[in-house]
């Protein structure tokens, strides 16, 4: 305190400004009364030593500790003292819970006044607005991130991440019990998420968790004893839990799980606003997690149904290269009306049977029929039927199944190894484009087979043919989606057989896998993205035998250097 007693210099008796005559104006007492009547808090000080000369009524109410005769620097407002020390003309301060803002005005050369304003309400409003904005931003971010993924694991992790970023120091998401175990994700701020499974009996250790997973209304945080939380809930180095909140994650008519939030420290608590925010957030997170769960169920079901309709993993018989490629028009389902299949040797036959076909129609319906056709072929192969016989039986089976307007075109072949690395094919078609053969010299031949389509008329005509492939030669079975693919530079031209012949001819000497890939690439480029029809290819190749020659240092046996010395066309029509 200053040495001067406040009573020695009553403000009313002090000249406001020594250099000023007041005789012409109102008396000092009147001025004093006028200042006391003003709603603005005013503190007058001497400029020389910052002594407070006068404190009006409003200022006394606002800051009772201020009094005339005192020194402004030593008063109860550190903010004011700081502004004086720094020579500033404004300050803000908090005095007994009130937010103050002060402005300094020079009043002549020797005096100045601080004009104080109570900003408590304003600050409270601004704080409320900021909090509301933060909540809105949080919920908007939560909406965006939670709706982004249909993967349940990701949704669960995102829930924990958002909760730790906005609501608590640690978050644990527990999903409903499945086979006596509850999947859970735990995330502590600044650490990596931990995922695992909780045994069902453990759930009862956490206060309120069983209730939350049971879909009961959330229990307010203040009723949950944080000290009762089991040790396994959070890592050892988390420290004592100050406050715990367990919120149900509401799902589709049944709970999607529970969200456990923890704050550390003795003073930690969850306010009612925090609890409501957590509940709103939990509703969004629960909806996302349960939608992802539904999606997974659908995907699992579809995957089971799809498994038999997808193109098979091809067997790799000795001495024969077999490569398949399938591109469904509807990529998300990856199933359609084209198909191929390969049946390996059986006890009674060492041949490998191949088939490639096209069911009329598209999408899942067509896919189901391809499944039936493939199964029929598999059974026929087991009883040792030859390709043309398979087609005849399949025709009758389809006609007798009673389904109208369901027919299929396909090529069936029986593949066997010949002498000197050759491969023999016995081929028959039911209304399907004839396979192409790529010879060593680069010529491309159409296999001379024909036949009526399958499942349309009772009487079929099948004219099969045998083909022999020398090492390095290849036979390509394909569906008409390949030649009918529309595109090209001008946009609406069919790829056509001529281009396919040229494309194949360019693949002379290439391994079957590279040939199929090359043709697929050319067609994909042709349609300029997004084929509108299924495309299936199946290539059979007699492997080129280059290894020995190359390692002996001779390069002229390379498939690129081999010039076909054969003149015989090893295709013979059977009639």
């Amino acid at each position: 305190m200053t040495a001067q007693s406040p009573t020695t210099r009553l403000p009313a008796q002090s000249p406001i400004s020594t250099g000023e005559k007041l005789t012409d104006g109102p008396a000092p007492a009147l001025l004093r009364a006028a200042l006391d009547a003003a709603s603005e808090a005013v503190v007058l000080c001497g400029a020389a030593d910052d002594t407070i000369l006068m404190v009006n009524a409003a200022a006394r109410t606002l800051v009772p500790g201020l009094s005339a005769g005192g020194n402004a620097v030593e008063g109860p407002l550190p903010g004011l003292a700081g502004a004086l020390a720094a020579g500033d003309d404004t300050f803000t301060d908090v005095y007994e819970g009130r937010h103050l803002q002060g402005r300094r005005r020079m009043l002549g050369p020797d005096h100045y006044g601080w004009y104080l304003r109570d900003r408590t309400d304003e600050v409270a409003r601004a704080d409320a607005l900021r909090a509301e904005r933060a909540r809105t931003a949080f919920l908007a971010e939560a909406g965006r991130r939670l709706s982004s993924s249909l993967h349940q694991g990701r949704c669960t992790r995102i829930t924990a991440e958002l909760a730790v970023a906005h609501l608590a120091d640690a978050a644990v998401v527990v999903l409903p019990v499945n086979r006596r175990q509850a999947p859970w994700v735990r995330l502590v701020a600044g650490e990596a998420a931990v995922e695992g499974l909780l045994r069902e009996p453990l759930l009862a250790d956490v206060p309120g968790l069983v209730e939350a997973l049971g879909g009961f209304p959330p229990i307010p945080s203040k009723w949950l004893d944080a000290s009762q939380a089991p040790e396994w809930l959070l890592p050892d180095d988390f420290g004592p839990i100050g406050a715990l909140l367990v919120t149900p994650l509401p799902g589709n008519a049944e709970p999607a799980g529970a969200l456990i939030l923890a704050r550390r420290g003795d003073n930690a608590r969850f306010s009612p606003e925090d609890e409501i925010l957590a509940r709103i957030f939990a509703a969004r997170a629960g909806a996302a997690i349960s939608a992802a769960g539904l999606y997974r169920e659908q995907v699992d079901t579809t995957a089971v149904l799809q498994a038999d309709l997808l193109p098979p993993e091809l067997i790799q018989p000795d001495g024969i290269e077999l490569v398949g490629s399938y591109q469904a028009a509807r990529d998300a389902m990856r199933i359609g009306g084209d198909f191929y299949d390969v049946f390996g040797p059986t006890d009674t036959s060492s041949d490998t049977v191949i088939a490639l076909g096209d069911v009329c129609g598209k999408g899942p319906e067509a896919a189901v029929l391809t499944g039936k056709v493939r199964q029929t072929l598999r059974a026929l192969r087991l009883v040792g039927a030859a390709p043309e016989e398979m087609l005849r039986v399949l025709n009758r089976a389809l006609l007798e199944s009673g389904r109208q307007h369901r027919f299929v075109t396909l090529v069936v072949g029986s593949v066997s190894r010949g002498e000197h690395g050759r491969v023999r094919l016995e081929l028959a078609t039911g209304g399907h484009p004839a396979p192409l053969v790529l010879r060593l010299d680069g010529t491309v031949e159409e296999v001379p087979i024909s036949g009526t389509l399958i499942g349309a008329v009772a009487r079929t005509v099948v004219r099969p043919a045998d083909v022999e492939l020398a090492p390095g030669e290849l036979c390509l079975l394909y569906s008409d989606g390949l030649t009918e693919a529309r595109g090209g530079p001008t946009g609406d031209e069919q790829f056509g057989e001529e281009r396919l012949h040229h494309a194949l001819a360019e693949c002379r000497g290439m391994p079957a896998v590279a040939t199929v890939e090359r043709v697929r690439q050319l067609v994909s480029d042709w349609v300029h993205g997004g084929a509108r029809d299924d495309i299936a290819m199946l290539a059979v190749r007699a492997p080129a035998r280059t290894q020995l020659s190359v390692r002996n240092g001779s390069r002229n046996q390379s498939p690129f250097a081999i010039d076909a010395r054969r003149n015989d066309r090893r295709v013979r029509q059977r009639s």
């Binding site: 993967h151 349940q152 000497g509 290439m510 391994p511 896998v513 994909s524 997004g530 190359v550």
Partner: protein
């Protein structure tokens, strides 16, 4: 194997031997070389990067220089993949990191670099889903929702696929999965990858492994902020692609009457060249990077010269497209810059 058969990557002539093996389609010999290297203690990473990827780069150069046919290039790639599979079969690393999905953008067929990346990441402890070449956007997104990976590695080797790469990047990020881009298509230093909203870019498999090993995922802004690129000139060029190419073909025939005698294959090849010009122009307009087009023209002029085509043919082709785009100033500027990039014949 005897002690003498110990091999190393420093052996003189090893790269040439391996190049010859893959070029001759000798799967057995190629696999034998990588197996011998692994047996001699060379790490699988070095075999993949230094030998297989290095050889593949030379295969590309040989094709560009017209020393190898397309068929031979494809056959060599198939053999390289077999050699890579042999390396992969010898290593088994338990996953300790997250899960990564690797895909080539829709229309992109160069799968070998991404296959090498897949193996490199597997060796680094990632759980890898390799979707291969030419992955349509919806297929990729379905996969993301079903497997929930921590990152998508997207490869694009040719800049004309950038619009589709952009669609895929935006969709992946909208699904909450960050994207690391890779491949020449994203431009020098991966400059275009940033325009397209990728979270990171890596020049090669080794860089990608390093980038993903720490500080991942990066913070990234809302993908919708960079969801749209291109402008009305881009839209015009893409929507009229067929007309631009068709008209260019007619004008070419007028300017060069022997074209009337072209067979289907020659016409297709010429139309394909016109399509490249239009597609690279569209990509340059989409990303607002003239360099996409100038790089293409410089590269193409090298390739066609290796095949004995004079640069004037390229200029005439360019003009046949340019003369249709007089009202489109940005496209004109791009095409003019492209013409300036056509190289004078080698030998000067």
């Amino acid at each position: 194997m005897s002690v003498d058969s110990r091999r190393s990557l420093d052996e003189p002539g090893l790269a040439d031997d391996f190049l010859r093996l893959v070029g001759d389609g000798d799967e057995y010999g190629a696999v034998e070389v990588v197996t011998a290297l692994l047996d001699s203690g060379v790490t699988p990473q070095r075999v993949m990067i230094d030998l297989i990827a290095g050889t593949q780069a030379r295969v590309g150069e040989l094709w560009a220089a017209n020393e190898w046919s397309v068929a031979r290039e494809h056959a060599a790639t198939a053999i390289s993949e077999r050699a890579l599979a042999a390396v992969a079969a010898r290593t088994n690393v338990p996953p300790t990191r997250g899960r990564v999905t690797i895909a080539c953008v829709d229309g992109e067929w160069h799968a070998l670099p991404t296959r090498i990346l897949a193996e490199m990441l597997r060796l680094d402890g990632w759980r890898v889903d390799f979707l291969g070449a030419n992955v349509p956007g919806p297929h990729l997104l379905t996969h993301l929702h079903q497997t929930g990976p921590d990152v998508v590695a997207l490869s694009c080797m040719i800049a004309t696929r950038l619009p589709r790469a952009h669609a895929a990047i935006t969709a992946c990020k909208a699904a909450g999965v960050p994207v690391i881009a890779g491949g020449r298509g994203f431009g020098p230093g991966g400059r275009y990858a940033q325009h397209l909203g990728a979270d990171a870019w890596a020049a090669g498999a080794e860089e990608a492994v390093q980038r993903l090993a720490r500080n991942w995922p990066p913070h990234s802004p809302d993908p919708q902020l960079s969801a749209y690129l291109g402008d009305e000139e881009y839209t015009y060029v893409v929507r009229n692609r067929g007309v631009l190419i068709g008209t260019a073909m007619r004008r070419l025939t007028d300017a060069y009457p022997p074209m009337r005698e072209y067979n289907q294959r020659q016409l297709d090849a010429t139309a394909e060249d016109m399509a490249y010009i239009v597609d690279f122009l569209a990509a340059a307009l989409y990303v607002s990077e003239t360099q996409i087009f100038t790089d293409f023209m410089a590269w193409t002029s090298g390739v066609v010269q290796a095949r004995g085509v004079p640069p004037v043919a390229l200029r005439v082709g360019l003009e046949s497209v340019r003369s249709q785009l007089r009202d489109y100033p940005t496209a004109m500027a791009v095409l003019n810059a492209g013409e300036a990039a056509i190289e004078a014949p080698a030998g000067k």
